[in-house]
Amino acid sequence: MDRIATHGARRKWKGRRGQLPLTLRAVVHYVARTSLAMAAISVSARDIEERLQAVQRRWRWRVRLHAGAYACSVALVGVAAAVWWGGAAVRTAPSGWLVMLVASLTVLGTLLASWPVERSIDRERTAAWIDSRAGLAQRFSTFVSIPPEAQRSRLFPVLVLQLVRARSQYEPRQLIPWKPTKPLAALGAASLVLVLAWRHAEPAHPPLAQRKTEPASNPERASQVAQGAGEAARSREPGEHEAAVEEGTETAESLAAGDAAMKRASTRERAVRAGQDSQGAGGPLPGARSSSRQGPESRRAAAGTAEGSGSGEGPRPRGDGVAPGGSPADAAALARGSAGGSSAALRPPQLAGNASELPEAAKPGADPQRRNAGPPAPQGQSPAKGQSGAGSGTDGTGLYDAAAPAQRGESAAQSEPIVVTLPATTFVRRGVEPQGRGAGGGQSLDAPEAAPVPGSGAAAPIEKPLLPEAYRELAQRVFARSAKP
């Protein structure tokens, strides 16, 4: 090393050798040789120092990379777990933002925690680490830690020279290879987990705000809901809704209308039930002979018997009396219907439509097990077909059962489908009073989260939409208008 450094000085000195006296020549030779040797040593020492700093920089970047990658991986896995267990609500609800905030804080905290680690990578530690990795027998740590006065030792050039000779053993790229395989693999795996969790938590329907513009995913279910809406909003033309469904522009308005219709139907059924109760033995159902003045327990038991005994094939006969708790207008309308008037006036137009439009499982004559998952009626209480067994108020097939008499051409007096049963997948509002308590196999309003019965023709459950107050008021207004005699 210093041989190379002093080579130029020697050559220069040889050219002037004859021009200088002996003593001066010796002095110049000594000064030039010594100073150049020291300069070479200092250059080499500076080179070693720079290499040490390069190793430090590389090590710090490695710490940052690993900390960041692993922190992001942990955060992604956490978000994935939240999405997996929290479902789609995490993505839309404020809790989703909370999860994102926690994940961000995790990443930020890990990066901040790695800061002391970076700070701990000082010169002495790095030098000791280089010694251990490169097998330098503590030369590097000695070089780094000795005080300046020790550098005046005669053997300091030997130390520097030995370090320079061993340069290849402590190349920064060799000591700290740039192979971020593990952190990147962890990051990729975490991302994959998040994607899988995201897809797992994909909602059956997009949020309400998106539903206004997106086409309905299930036109049949939308038509069912729209049927209720058509009844509620009488000003609407019968074919208008189908057109909307066909166009895929099912909107929240129709959903709100369906909601209102459901509420109205519920009220109406209560009125019917109350009327039957008031008729007492005059009702066609043996199990529905309880009086309206009876206690709620007995009334509930009777209703449960009547509702739970049906096979779901026929409409439920209505009562003729006025329900104590029902609306007088409904009672009057029901009285009109029982006097021979067509119940089609009270039914949505689709209820009297062609059975060919119905789903296969809902057609008359189809397998009852497929159409209604209700349990069989007890012995002695099973009503005649078409006369009893309204099924569950929320039974999905009940809606089509109401259309069955029209399909068969039965008279309105025999098969007045006063009770509008709602499909199991109908949007459920908490405030609605349950109709099908104890109904056989049908979906109760008390359990809106129940999954559809496979093979029953019922569609997948739809989450309860959060309707604005405006829609609620609109529904109440429509209901009030339709309830007028």
């Binding site: 000791a128 251990s132 027998a137 503590q138 740590s141 000695t142 300091f156 030995q162």
Partner: protein
Amino acid sequence: MTTPQRNVQQFVDTFTRLRAELQRVIVGHDEHLEQILVAFFAGGHVLIEGLPGTGKTLIVRSLGELLNLKFARVQFTIDLMPADITGTRILVEENGQRTFRFQPGPLFTHVLLADEINRATPKTQSALLEAMAELQVTVAGHSYPLPRPFFVLATLNPIEMEGTYPLPEAQLDRFLFKVVLRYPSHDELRRILASTTGANVPSLKPLFAPEEAATEVERLRALVREVITAPQVEAYAAALVRATIPASSKFVPPGDAPLPPDEAINRYVSFGASPRGGQALLLGAKVRALLEGRAHVTYEDIDAVAVPALSHRLVVNFAALADGVEPRSLIEGILQRARRLHARGN
């Protein structure tokens, strides 16, 4: 090759040749021979403890011959007086005038063999203190410097304790290393018998010319002190020395120990090593570093010389004697703990 490098290489060559020549004469004791050479180049003195007939005197005499240095031997007895070894002033008559002239004793040599030093009285033993520590002798108020290099090799006979005077701690502290010669093994004994009873007794070839031997040795000794020691290595040596002092000692500040207290040290040691022990550690480590062609001291160098440098500086109590605990095992225990801590620190 630069001059410093050449010097280092020259040191390595000299040491290697010395060791090889000694091994031709001394069968076995390779480790002890190296320790003696390390102490010699470190500028210290060596106390050799061994049974009679184990080659103590042969080692010292061979070393003097190999280095072509002045060699003297003093057989210490109970009636040996200090003036017998330091020299004395004698009355001489020159030109009709009688004057006192200093007659140097056997101390004025390069290599001194103090055979069975524990047989002399403490007064005579103390005569060596100044010579070993300050390399000078003071007689009648006048100091006479000793020739450089000055190297004392003292031997101890551990068997005959009758009529002996154990060396005082101050005297022991002057010795850089203490080497304990064991019995030779069976194979070594066979080789000793073969080499010493035959017709061809191995002869020694001096390494240096007589006129330059002292200068060369001094140059090599000076080179040893140029070896670089990192601050952390110095701290390690200081920690080792400090660890030999029991916690109950009233001469050290409390809570100053860098190493956790050792139960064995607290139980068996009355007094630990002095700062001279630390000097011995570093100097011996520097020689070992040069031997390996390095210009710096490592932790391993310190560990290698810790036992011969510190064991004779521990003053053990009666409990250690009763339990048969030797200072060597105590030092090795300290080394094990220090290595663990050092490894954990890294």
